[in-house]
């Protein structure tokens, strides 16, 4: 979900997906999407020639952004987010993965 962070953290092989948190392999029930991601991950695992190889999956999340952005977040903010909100009081309710 955050391949740029994986690069910064020096992961040796990376597959990037532009999916909401909690959905590493795709939509529930969408076996074709899940297979595309897993097969690419396996190909990068076995076939990457150099450290830092990154390949991104060209799949657009099939849910409108606003809806998907809300859907992945827990119904109650996580403890650390509640703590951060209590100290910074941002205007929007937000959560961290």
């Amino acid at each position: 979900m955050m391949p740029a962070v994986a690069e910064e953290r020096r992961a040796s092989r990376i597959v990037g997906v532009e999916f909401p948190f909690g959905h590493a392999f795709g939509m529930p029930g969408d076996k074709a999407m899940q297979r595309r991601v897993l097969e690419l991950a396996l190909r990068v695992l076995a076939g990457a020639a150099t450290f830092g190889t990154r390949v991104d999956v060209d799949i657009e999340w099939p849910v409108p952004l606003r809806e998907a952005y809300k859907a992945w977040q827990p119904k109650e903010a996580s403890p650390i987010v509640r703590k951060l909100l209590a100290t910074s009081r941002p205007t929007n309710s937000e959560a961290a993965p």
Binding site: V5, G22, Q34, L38, E76, A95
Partner: protein, 168 residues
């Protein structure tokens, strides 16, 4: 097509993740060539979605995280590769896990890996896959000193040739 790593992240949280660089001591490359053909390799899966087996394994410790928000459970759970989806539960305070509970394959695609083994794309799957909690204490002390060495031993015991790490 380049993935936008921050598309689904609240804007104010982006600085928490962006531009932080490697962890101290992890600046150099770590590389292990994959020497086998995939069709003869044994593959393991690891999910950080906080999965565990209903009724047979304890949940990840969410109560402690509730009282100590900067702590994350560093323990791990072996998930038998032949475990049915109905037997998988999840414990994670940072995501809505409804979709994972309805289809655990989106976090740990064990059935799909079995299918690729049956099709001879992959040689075999390990007898167990691994579940961890993605939210961790920032020091990573428990993770680095205990969890990772235990996982490496477990995966080597099962003769894993490769591991697919799947963040939640």
């Amino acid at each position: 097509m380049i993935v936008d790593s921050y598309r689904f992240l609240p804007r104010s949280f982006r600085p928490i993740y962006e531009g932080r660089g490697p962890f101290p001591g992890e600046e150099g490359p770590v590389w292990a060539p994959f020497e086998k053909r995939l069709a003869s390799a044994r593959i393991a899966l690891l999910s950080s979605a906080g999965l565990y087996i209903k009724g047979r394994q304890p949940s990840f410790d969410l109560e402690r995280e509730q009282t100590n928000p900067e702590w994350g459970d560093p323990s791990w759970r072996p998930i038998p590769a032949d475990l049915g989806s109905d037997d998988i539960a999840s414990a994670h305070l940072h995501i809505n896990d409804e979709d994972i509970r309805s289809d655990p394959e989106i976090a740990l695609p064990a059935r799909l890996l079995d299918q690729l083994v049956a099709e001879r794309v992959v040689g075999s799957a390990t007898a167990e896959h691994i579940s961890v909690m993605g939210y961790q204490d920032r020091s990573l002390e428990g993770w680095q000193n205990h969890t990772v060495p235990e996982l490496v031993t477990r995966l080597r015991d099962q003769q894993a040739d490769g591991l697919i790490l799947a963040p939640a």
